[in-house]
């Protein structure tokens, strides 16, 4: 009976549906375990947008060492990353590139807006080339205020994000 339903044309669709059903079935019991796995291996993508990258670099330094909280040092290949830390001002030239980077990343993906410029435009509120915050470009999970935020503040923001992931559905998009 099952064999009659599957034709070469709809095989992909069928396998996809089957996967959906399986995922839904394991969502409830295994969701917590999946999220627990995700929060201790957040890989930030290596995209610097402005001067907050200095403090982001300092957060990976031996004194602050975000790696002990499960945030791994910025990584080159965006296809293996699941976290964008927007490090400061987004200019009009950078915004399309940031969106491209975000779109190319696989699900699940999270965004931290670091610094006053990424939240509202900050000090550059009246500049002609700076966007007033990145909410219009990509959806933000956690805002980290400061100009620039101290590494401790960034770490606190990351811990907040981990708390948020813990409470999320394991399958974000149904």
């Amino acid at each position: 009976m099952l064999k009659d339903l599957i034709t070469p044309e709809n095989a992909n669709v069928f396998v996809g549906k089957l996967g959906d059903i399986l995922e839904k079935a394991i969502d409830k019991p295994l969701g917590y375990a999946i999220n627990w796995g995700r929060i201790w291996s957040l890989w930030p993508v290596h995209i610097e947008t402005a001067c907050c990258s200095v403090e982001f670099g300092a957060a990976s330094s031996p004194r602050y060492d975000v790696e002990r909280f499960g945030i791994i040092e910025a990584f080159g290949s965006l296809r293996q990353c699941d976290l964008v830390v927007v490090q400061g001002t987004i200019t009009r030239k950078m915004a399309p590139r940031l969106r491209l980077v975000y779109d190319q990343m696989p699900e699940p993906k999270y965004v931290i807006a670091m610094g006053a410029c990424a939240i509202t435009g900050g000090l550059y509120f009246d500049s002609y080339n700076v966007l007033p915050g990145i909410d219009g470009v990509i959806p933000v999970d956690v805002y980290v205020p400061g100009c620039p935020p101290r590494p401790e503040t960034l770490i606190q923001g990351c811990i907040l994000l981990q708390e948020k992931i813990k409470r999320m559905k394991a399958r974000k998009f149904v």
Binding site: E48, T49, Y128, N129
Partner: protein, 378 residues
Amino acid sequence: MTTEIMPGLALQKVDERIMTLNVGPQHPGSGHMRIVVQIDGDYIVACDPDPGYVHRGEEKMAEYRNYITNIPHLERPVIHDSCNVLYPYVLGAEELLGIEVPERAKYIRVIASELNRCIYIMYWLAIYGIFLGHSTMFMWPAGDREFLIDLMEKMSGARVTHAHFVPGGVRNDLPPNFEDVCLRQVNYFEKRIKEYAAVFYDNPILISRTQDTGVLSKQDAIRLGTTGSVLRASGVDYDLRVKEPYDVYDELDIHTNVMKEGDAYARSRIPWLDMMESCNIIRQALQKMPKSGSVRTKLKPNPKTKVPATVYKRVESGRGSLGCYIVSDGKTEPYRLKLSVPSFRNLIALPYLLKGEKLGNMPSVYWSLNYWPVEADR
């Protein structure tokens, strides 16, 4: 073969041999900029830097703010070298507003500026190390610079963006017991950076990757108008702290480090030698500094320049000579403010250095230019 069909949009004929490759802005080897390289096999035949991803219009913003409120945003281009990037603006504003600076404030400025130079170079060394794949060289400088950041935090109250220099002096006096702590930290710091020779500068892998790559001859360095460590690595003896001393640099004994090779190794070694020189300068300044006295000439709330005038001041920052050109029309705001930044000046050397190099040598050449993209874009 490029034909422009409308402004900003061009058609390019695809070559069978030559491939165009975009490096950046999302790339571990580029920072906040894009480099369009054309490669033939493994060799770079042409290179076109494309900065401007952090262009925030600081020069336009300066026309809307008065001489005091300009301070915070003008130090943002290089936040880890914030004292030096603010220095020429403060010197220029002092000349325009006609303010005298107390002697003690001048020494505090020199100490803060040299500490900031070390902080900048340590961060640059850290990213230079990590982009060459040398993880130890990220961890060591990134950890050691925190001790100097502690000193600056003690002095000004902020980790990186100090806003400590104001027209008329510095914002606050030194905290009690600062001199002893500073001397101890600087001595420790100097001992520590001398150990980098064993792990980084004498490392055969670094030497084989940087020696004889990206050679900039002395004539080209002068012709292209490069500055700072790039210039001194090519054998030109030029340091503004010696040649055109500002504040109290003429009372201190400063040695200029010059290397003749002009390759990426020399360019990476010069900043390291500069840090040791900075430690010397800090020790001398601590010794000669007046032990007490005023540190700031008070300004009126909304200071006006007396006459329409122009001023061009320059200082030696962590990357090279940094100039500030202020045009004033006798109002509370500058009529026009231009920052002439060393990163932007050194960028012109990049296409010349990369031509004929292997693609794998690009990070070692590019970061050896002592380039900070945020500053170049302003």
